[in-house]
Symmetry: D5
């Protein structure tokens, strides 16, 4: 099937992610600068550019223009992704520390959230996140802020 007109006619999210990384390197842009062009946050822009979220049309057009990507990439950036992530705890130390945090503090977060809001969850779908630097004389700190809609359990 390799030479058939049907084989691989579409650019994939992986293709676009690779193109973004190359263009970003050539143009010497940071994620913060790219985010300014897309009109979305740095976190969301990175996540959607790497193929783990669907980018709204405007933002996709802006990204393609800013980085000089082919027109077809707009549609690919807008596609609904299948979110595959490492369910085994990852080994990269920077990502592992995040798992350690939800591992150690997960039951605490559940207790504090449900005491305040009732039985339910913080949505990971209707959700946003920001990451910033907090200057500190003993060594600067990373600050992570997330908000998610509270969803109450249904009874029927």
């Amino acid at each position: 099937m390799k030479d058939s007109p049907f084989a691989d006619p579409m650019m994939t999210k992986d293709d676009v992610a690779a193109m973004v990384l190359v263009a970003k390197k050539k143009l010497g842009l940071s994620w913060a600068e790219i985010a300014e062009k897309t009109g979305k946050s740095a976190v969301f822009t990175h996540s959607a550019a790497m193929g783990l979220n669907s980018m709204p049309e405007d933002a996709a057009r802006n990204l393609v223009a800013a980085l000089g990507l082919p027109e077809d990439a707009v549609e690919v950036l807008m596609e609904y992704p299948t979110k595959i992530w490492e369910q085994a705890v990852p080994t990269d130390p920077c990502i592992y520390r995040l798992y350690e945090i939800v591992g150690v503090y997960g039951p605490t977060m559940k207790a504090i959230i449900q005491e305040e809001f009732g039985d339910g969850i913080m949505s990971a779908i209707d959700f946003d996140m920001a990451i910033t630097r907090v200057p500190n004389p003993k060594g600067d700190r990373v600050k992570v802020e997330m908000t998610g809609k509270f969803l109450k359990y249904n009874d029927w």
Copy 2:
């Protein structure tokens, strides 16, 4: 060895955690109210009271006094814990959503952190967290804020 004077002479962190939950229920206190008495945040107070962190002596004394726990509990609360957490992704929906977030956004967080700070990690040891409610007409939102010291990789 069951009746020997050496068997199980110590109160464990699990024992204290159970006592805290009973007393909290009897006294009708929330974690926010208990935290006020310990002088620590609600997140840290819950985590240490449940046995996943070591409580400083003052806070431990305050907690024992406020909840009417036996004196020996002070020392137990101060002990250094062995932090055992579910490495298989947990099934409780409230905790699972937190894993989904670090699963989906982990590589993004690494990219944003390391672009800003250089090669390294956000510490999960020199670390703090707060959880608050954000009123919102479409449904209130849960807000999670964490900061951790940035640690740079060593070369030698």
Copy 3:
């Protein structure tokens, strides 16, 4: 700690689940009949009585009265559960077939749902389910109906 006044003073959801099963057997009631008394559906009543959902106060009072359970059980039925379920696919054939269905049809369900609604999910929190019998000359059929709120992915 076994004889301390602090040890195990609370009835647990497992205790209540066991009491419900005994009383149900003694009184010869079906889940449909119990559900009539709680004023909730049979599916929700079973799930909450077995400790996997939090029962609203009215329903809990009705259940306790109908089955002659101790008063303290009301509060236990209302507690917010930690939902622990078998993440390894279970071996019981009746439950395994349900996993096989979502295993085989999961990608199809995602495709059909997202084509109709856009990028997002069917909530498992704001959710309900009914199970009924469909008479059929070739052998009666089980009918399962579920509805869940559609949640759209956020961008920011």
Copy 4:
């Protein structure tokens, strides 16, 4: 063996699935519209077109004609598949929520089914499913309906 006349002479179900997706995109058809052409439901049409079910000959001919696929695809669509699905619970949030539902409600479904029908299972083989939208002022809902033949355990 790469150039031998015996190597890879057959189109596979994966090849046909890829061709279907390309043609569907080019022709701008939804699964509901394709299902109308095959004479089968959208759920079954998607599942068989993606290679997880065997399509009856008529439906396969209709599909091939409607999408302009090569004639050989008819036979491929009719082949009996080997159904390989993710036994580890998948990470895509849309599919994960379905596993969470059968995880949390599986024992309830077994109890309700077996109380009504006796000891046995709902077949995942003699089975069908439909997915529809239920308009709702608080946000539309996804409705999933499945029926499967009840099979009683044999004794001998």
Copy 5:
């Protein structure tokens, strides 16, 4: 809850299985002899007596009478079991060899069954099995015979 009238009032399938093994040993009966009394096959009798199948009322009454078990055991033998079996391939050599057979010959069995019957499965629910000795001068052989209803895949 240990001394409450609600705790553990029921005999379990494990209790009955233990009683059966004791009585069988005391009475010096083989499974073939017990099966004669229940009116069911040795394979089914063992499986239901050990708690992995539900025994029909007559057979259960016969078993209880023949082995001198308490009356309550009849109802327990009739209960619908939750079939939990080792999904990790077991280590006992006698059972492991059975897994090795379905591991090595599984794809062959699928090919031969589906060529003869069409796309579908041999039911493990509407199913029976017999085990007999086949005398052989080079060493006697174990003979295992199973039949299961063929179930065709549905399309809709």
Copy 6:
């Protein structure tokens, strides 16, 4: 090493299995018909043709002649295979049901075999199997018959 005279000069069992499937399709033969030509049973013929058993020389010559395969295939069919099979329980429903049977009935089979024969196993090496159709007015049944030499545990 790609162009070295040493690279890949041998036809593998996978190559031959692919050739067999193509020729079988072209010639429109069933496994029963092929088995008639090899002089071996359908089960053994399929297993050895697919590379999971070593075919005796005569049978291999017959198979190669009947299907028009290259002469070198005889030797490949005779090679001793490395039997690799899915130790995780497979998801294909037709094969899964076989695992469910040995999962549910494994301990029963051990009890019945060892009561009849003494401590030991049914060999999976000195072993044969047949699969046939049993007509039945309520739906035809699949019949699987296996015999294996009984091997007694050694003591020394």
Copy 7:
């Protein structure tokens, strides 16, 4: 069921293994000395005394007499065991090294055995083993010798 006459009336293989270890310690016997009394090898005697093999009646009577065990232990030693062993590679360094040997040399052993004997296996059932000390000026060596019957694969 705890006080019922049916509960736990039998001595188990674990009970006997514990008794053997206590008596061995009290009497100051080595496994070689115990083996002399049973009339079996040290390896087999240890394996059967620890409950992983069935001891022949004579040997069992000798063991019970030599160690002063209760009479009932004879029958327990003769029972057919269920052989459960660690399928995950064990961590004890002495046992791990044995796994490392079959891990590293397994394919070599298969190649050498099958070249000499044809397609088949060395039986682990009709099998024996001896362990001895080989004096060596650079440090004594452990010698392990095993023999097992060769079993040829069947064709049919």
Copy 8:
């Protein structure tokens, strides 16, 4: 990087293993005959030729000469391997039986070795093995002999 002068300039142990197998087949040699030429045992020769041990220079030169391999293969055969082996118990019946033996007899081997030698292990590094045929009227037997240096645990 595919055409860079740096890409893949070295023959690997896998390349050499493949060359050995082809030459062995062409020359019609057994492992025993090849071992005679290398001056090492058949077991060690196979293990090192397949890439799981480092061959001493003399033996490597002899092997290359005897099989007509390219000169560069000498150095590759001498390289220190990374020993990767199946930590999941393998499914090939010939290799599986070896795991079953160390699984069932591992604790026995530990007990017998440590009683004779003290607390320590049989080295899997300073180690050798031989495999021979033992004629036997009831069927020939495979004999495996291994010796390894005893290493005592250190204290300090």
Copy 9:
């Protein structure tokens, strides 16, 4: 068997470990102080007192005397342990960091060791370790030193 004179007559290594911890707490001793009394290092003393190594007789007598343990504990401390450790990477952050180090640096350590010593390993049996504090103005450092005998691979 619970009341038989054969049941549990021996103190176990777990019993002794528990006694050591209680006595250490009562006497207010550090591991360094206890090690001074045993005449062994702190690392080895802790490991053997916790049951993961066999303590030489002198050291065991010293420990028992110093902590006021029962005489029988001497023999228990001298027993050869079965070393069971967490093969899944542990979650306690202090222990996890050690796994991360051997995970990240393992291949480097192999390369450096084998370049210096030839093909072989650093023994984990003939092995010792010390842990000390290194004062440092930017924060004190933990120093871990280990030495193990180099063992060369055998050929034969």
Copy 10:
């Protein structure tokens, strides 16, 4: 996308690692000699050259010059790596022994470190390691020294 100007335009860390190994072999250099040229330790140089650490610019320039690598390799060596390591315990005996050490001594190391320093960890980020040979008449020993900054747990 294979021929697009966007595909694979960057040298990867794997490419550079392969180039380093080839050049090292051609030039006949040891890691100690290469380390002298980079101005970093042998352990760090190997780790960064193999792609598991980020090399400082000076060291990277020195390495590229010394080995005659292409200029682009400098930037690749400086990139921040994603550290992926075997979380399943590796099978190579040289690396396995390191895991065995932290498996057996991990709890001891935690106890000794936390007794000396308080509740916290030895950093694996702000960390260094050296490996040397210790001559010894009974066989030379491998010495591994590591130091890591102590990090205290935060409370807030």
